[in-house]
């Protein structure tokens, strides 16, 4: 099936590329850890894709922190617009999109016609982003992908009161030193992150349904706890990390 448009989300941790077909379905995707030289990286990824799918001139729309560096993009659109577009095209409805990435998080309220009603971002501080879990995981030498399952294996939660990633890390160490169980402490750590994120959603005003995206929601504990915290079921796309690139690809269709 033909690729109609390409979206590149050059995020601060992962580069994502999505191609969509005539029906707006994902025809191809690629994900790689972001290199410091993102421009060269994206060029290489695109060359590989072009060879494999055998196409030449289709629009490329870039988003994300590195978007300025993607020189052959037809246009650049912010992550807010792309994520909203992606969520709207995927779920075919409005609502509140909560995107939790490795280094930032955002909440976007999307109207029933797909327009952005309001948004809020946190990209100034690790609190409320994947980095919050990462610093403690790194310190405890636990692989990130195991964090969620460890949290879920606990039946008691050790409260971690710090929302600051640096303070939380020392709080975790001190709780463990006081004999608390690892899984309980990690569950508490997840809770702290989720509470902080829920506060962002409430701050902007929650319009159901809740939609999730971003790499961090691959963590099952996070998903379950967000639903608990918000008291509602959340919609989850098949590839939560690709929402921005997916939306960017749709933005390309407009200009084509």
């Amino acid at each position: 099936m033909g690729v109609k448009s390409i979206g590149v989300d050059a995020g601060s941790t992962v580069v994502k590329i999505v191609g969509i077909d005539d029906f707006g379905k994902i025809a191809l995707y690629r994900m790689e850890q972001a290199d410091p030289q993102i421009e060269i990286q994206v060029d290489r990824m695109m060359d590989e894709i072009k060879q494999e799918y055998n196409f030449k001139d289709i629009p490329i729309v870039a988003t994300g922190y590195g978007s300025e560096l993607i020189k052959n993009a037809a246009k650049r659109v912010t992550e807010i617009t792309c994520h909203a577009r992606g969520a709207f095209e995927y779920f075919k409805k409005g609502g509140t999109l909560l995107d939790i990435g490795g280094q930032d998080s955002k909440v976007i309220v999307i109207a029933q016609n797909g327009h952005i009603v309001d948004f809020i971002m946190n990209d100034k501080c690790a609190a409320g982003t994947g980095r919050f879990l990462e610093t403690s995981a790194w310190r405890l030498k636990i692989p990130m992908e195991k964090m969620g399952e460890i949290a879920l294996s606990s039946d008691k939660e050790t409260p971690i009161s710090s929302t600051c990633a640096v303070f939380a890390e020392s709080e975790v160490i001190s709780r463990l030193a006081h004999g608390e169980k690892l899984e309980d402490v990690i569950r508490g750590l997840h809770r702290s992150l989720v509470k902080r994120i829920a506060a962002m959603v409430y701050a902007i005003g929650f319009t159901p349904p809740l939609m999730l995206s971003g790499g961090v929601v691959l963590n099952r504990a996070i998903r379950i706890m967000i639903e608990e915290e918000m008291g509602t079921k959340a919609l989850l796309p098949e590839h939560p990390q690709l929402m921005g690139a997916y939306g960017a690809a749709f933005e390309g269709l407009d200009s084509a």
Binding site: Y65, T78, I80, D123
Partner: protein, 441 residues
């Protein structure tokens, strides 16, 4: 007054310095040339009156260099009832304006570290840190600041000033007058006005003692009259922003407001604003907008980001966005009608209780909603200022209400009015871009 000080003042300031500055400014005004590096495709030429703004500010700081021992010197907070001191002949220095100037000249980091290194927390307002840094090190981009003979702190803007001025009082060992203004949830009650009026009356004796002369009420009335006139003209200038396209933006206002703050009560300030108004009316007649291709009009809440004025104004203008009204610049004009020249002390008391920072978040929201309506605005940028807690508190709710009640997109922009460490270019650009996409420009 020593003879040497007096000679220095008269020769270096009166005879030469101020005359040279004036002569240069007059020449630049007559042969006004547009700056070479200006982006004429997106922004109108800067106002010619800017030459005069620069002249008056330069002269003010120049006088400050030589004024000690010649005129008594007062350091005052921006919202202080300064008219009594003016009538007594004090030279008035506004540390907040000086700190803003340090911000615009990107000197804040260097100067405020002088205070931070002596233990003043980075969580204190950057104006206070800058001022205390200057006090401790003498560093300033204007050459030299005069030492105060008296300090006047009015709590109508924040409580920070209370503690900050106590530090100054101890360091310089000079009297400190504190005018305490009760916080208003609504309009001031008569007993609240009375309370402030009593403090003003009681302060006169201390001020007279330092000035070594008695207060002449005729002079006071004249200063009050000039204050009122300047503030009223300033209000009129801002209201010209209702024109479409708006002849001046808030970025222009941020620069030209300096005089209504630090030289209100002077005759030349009134002349200045009259000239400025005439120039703006000329622009309106010719259909000139501050932003060449005005597509959207916005509101600005809170202090400016002094070190990013140019960047922000150009960035927004590139997208055809003109920021035409602000609660901050408005604060220096909105109270003009309250001043009653025939009843100076009582009306000063009343006026100085009512600044926006001394009033409830609800009131601020009403001001914003009114501006959105009257200036036909498409949205708002609320600068959440790390330094200025009283201004920033309540902004999350205010922003939400603008979105839900007034149905206007509104953006909270986190920064600091002068500390560059609380500001990140990429994040600000990212947010602004998303906001502009939302506005459809």
């Amino acid at each position: 007054m020593s003879v040497a000080q007096s000679l220095n003042y008269h020769i270096k300031f009166k005879l030469f310095g101020s005359q040279i500055v004036k002569w240069q400014a007059n020449r630049a005004y007559r042969n006004f040339k547009e700056p070479k590096n200006r982006k004429s495709d997106i922004l109108a030429s800067p106002l010619k009156i800017g030459v005069k703004t620069k002249e008056l500010i330069t002269k003010h700081y120049l006088e400050g260099r030589y004024v000690n021992g010649v005129r008594p010197v007062a350091w005052v907070t921006s919202g202080a009832p300064v008219e009594i001191l003016k009538a007594l002949g004090f030279y008035i220095l506004y540390p907040e304006n000086h700190a803003a100037l340090c911000g615009a000249r990107r000197a804040t980091l260097d100067i405020s570290s002088e205070a931070e290194n002596r233990g003043y927390s980075v969580d204190i307002c950057s104006y206070a840190r800058t001022d205390i840094g200057t006090m401790l090190s003498g560093k300033t981009p204007v050459g030299k600041l005069p030492k105060p003979d008296i300090l006047l702190a009015c709590t109508n803007i924040c409580q920070t000033v209370l503690f900050w001025y106590r530090v100054l009082a101890k360091h310089y060992n000079v009297p400190l007058i504190v005018i305490d203004t009760p916080f208003l949830y609504d309009n001031a009650e008569p007993h609240q006005v009375e309370y402030v009026k009593n403090q003003l009356e009681n302060s006169i004796e201390t001020a007279e003692r330092v000035a070594k002369k008695s207060l002449d009420f005729a002079k006071l009335k004249n200063v009050v009259k000039l204050s009122k006139e300047a503030a009223a003209l300033w209000l009129e200038i801002m209201e010209r922003g209702k024109n479409i396209p708006a002849p001046i933006s808030v970025f222009d206002q941020f620069i030209h407001m300096a005089l209504v703050v630090e030289k209100r009560g002077d005759a030349e300030t009134v002349d200045f604003y009259a000239k400025m108004l005439a120039e703006i009316d000329e622009r309106i007649e010719k259909g000139i907008g501050a932003v060449v291709n005005e597509k959207k009009r916005l509101l600005w809440d809170n202090l400016p980001i002094w070190h990013k004025l140019r960047f922000l104004s150009e960035f927004l203008a590139e997208h055809g966005v003109s920021v035409v009204a602000s609660t901050y610049t408005n604060a220096w004009g909105e109270l003009a009608p309250m001043i009653d020249v025939n009843n100076p002390i009582e009306s000063l008391a009343k006026t100085y209780i009512h600044p926006i920072l001394n009033r409830s978040a609800e009131y601020k929201l009403q001001v914003m909603e009114k501006m959105i309506d009257e200036y036909k605005l498409d949205g708002a940028i609320l600068h959440s200022d790390r330094s200025c807690k009283p201004y920033s508190m309540g902004q999350v709710d205010e922003r939400n209400r603008l979105v839900t009640q007034a149905s206007k997109p509104a953006l909270l922009l986190e920064a600091d009015h002068s500390d560059p460490r609380s500001y990140a270019d990429e994040q600000v650009k990212n947010r602004l871009n998303a906001f502009l996409e939302m506005l459809g420009v």
